[in-house]
């Protein structure tokens, strides 16, 4: 994306291009389906959730396919974003100051770039969980074809799959909380694509400088 193209009229900046937003929502839609049907298989107390999605046998049939869609979306995110998700010295300082971030003292935070260290953690957490979920999920998809002398594959998969899923649920809860409730403007940015200059300066000053340039004034 050309930097000057990211500067929008009326004091806004383009944060997410259309393909980024689309990929996000494909992953989000697939993830929510996977979460709901997965929770139904996780606990008898939530088995009724599968009824909403057409019954447990249908959920069992479609869950793996939704998983493939989710993995494809995550993989495309990796292609798009992996270079931007590299751990930097700013990120190290960010983690040291994370208690200020979590108590809304953002002025005490080191200047984050396009993604802060927490967002990078979320990305890599989801990426590696998706890899683990895919590998174990393929085994759980066709357990009857795993020969008896390779049964350890079934045994580890049945543990890795829920463990990795639980980890993503933790990431997911924080992600939704940050995006919808804590950082006002973030949810709109993944729908419309843009954020206000104030948002950019407050949460991603490094990114703001990168696009606008320290001395230049944004177009009005």
């Amino acid at each position: 994306m050309n930097k000057s193209e990211q500067i929008l009229p009326h004091g806004h900046l383009l944060r997410y291009a259309l393909k980024e937003r689309l990929t996000h929502w494909v992953a989000a839609g697939a993830y929510i389906y996977l979460l709901m049907t997965g929770l139904a298989f996780w606990s008898p107390w939530l088995f009724w959730v599968a009824v909403i999605f057409g019954g447990a046998p249908v959920s069992r049939m479609l869950h793996p396919w939704a998983g493939l869609i989710f993995f494809a979306a995550v993989w495309y995110m990796y292609v798009m974003w992996a270079p931007q998700m590299k751990h930097t010295d700013v990120d190290k300082a960010w983690w040291k100051a994370v208690r200020y971030y979590s108590t809304n003292q953002d002025d005490k935070m080191p200047p984050a770039g396009r993604y802060n260290a927490g967002q990078k953690f979320l990305f890599w957490g989801f990426f590696w969980s998706a890899v683990a979920l895919l590998a174990s999920g393929v085994v759980l998809w066709f357990p009857e074809y795993i020969p008896w002398n390779l049964r350890f594959l079934r045994y580890i998969s049945i543990l890795i799959h829920p463990a990795a899923a639980l980890f993503t649920i933790g990431l997911f809860l924080i992600h939704v909380y940050m995006g919808v409730f804590a950082e006002r403007g973030a949810f709109g940015s993944v729908i419309r694509g843009d954020v206000s200059i104030a948002f950019a300066k407050r949460y991603h000053p490094g990114w703001y400088k990168e696009i606008v340039g320290e001395s230049s004034t944004p177009r009005k």
Partner: protein, 298 residues
Amino acid sequence: MSQAILRVQKISGHAGSVPGEGTQREYTVCKLIDTTTCIGCKACEVACMEWNDLPFGETVFDNTYQTMPETRWNYWNLILFNEHVREEDGSLMWLMRKNQCMHCAEPGCLAACPADGAIVQYTNGIVDFQQANCIGCGYCITGCPFDIPKMNPKTHRVFKCTLCTDRVSEGLEPACIKSCPTGCLHFGSKDDMLDLAGKRAKQLREHSNFPHAGVYDPPGVGGTGVIYVLHDATKPEIYGGLPSDPHVPWTVKLWKGPLKWLGNVAMVGGLIGLFVHYLRFGPKAREEEDINPSGGKP
């Protein structure tokens, strides 16, 4: 599956109490298989196919008596033939073991199953699959230490020996028992079968030169509803891979035990934690501040 008038003491994937638990005065039933008197005639296999109206499948000819390597979704009862050379004197033994569901007291299939009521254990100890409630996930295949549940690839439902629940609930013995010509199969209460098996094993030890003869009733799965008399109870593996110390896989136990609790506490705790965090700290900045940047602290 059957329409038996038996009550249920364990249900898979079930929230809340189990309706039938402790409501019926019932013996724990048991099938005794004396491998030392089995002649491998396969009458039990035929009787099983006949009584349960199972569709025929193709057999595999491999120049032995073994018509197929393992049980199938439509073949619940299979005699495994094994040639074994005795270490003591180099003599050859032809071992025959009737293989089927062991009807564990603590069934791994039932523990692993997420579908409400797809696997039940009746008060008499029989473990039965209810295909109408099965969702086809195959977790029972992973939970079973005996490799018994088999998937029907067309219907994606799992099948196995029912211990002829329909016959037993009417006071009859399972079809395999009725067909056995040598009397190597017995059926009755668990106590009676253990007593009979113990006597037979003692006889083998004291009079038939099988000093290691014994009864197979593995404690790792809480004992089984199918017990064996073996010539050599120290080496059950020689009988077509009968596991010497079967357990429900520890990963299944970990997943259904500590991980479940930890996961539920973490999920509920996380939701409450985030809610309280919002009450305490609220949003990082108000949207009005973005419209009028001077009000914020950028």
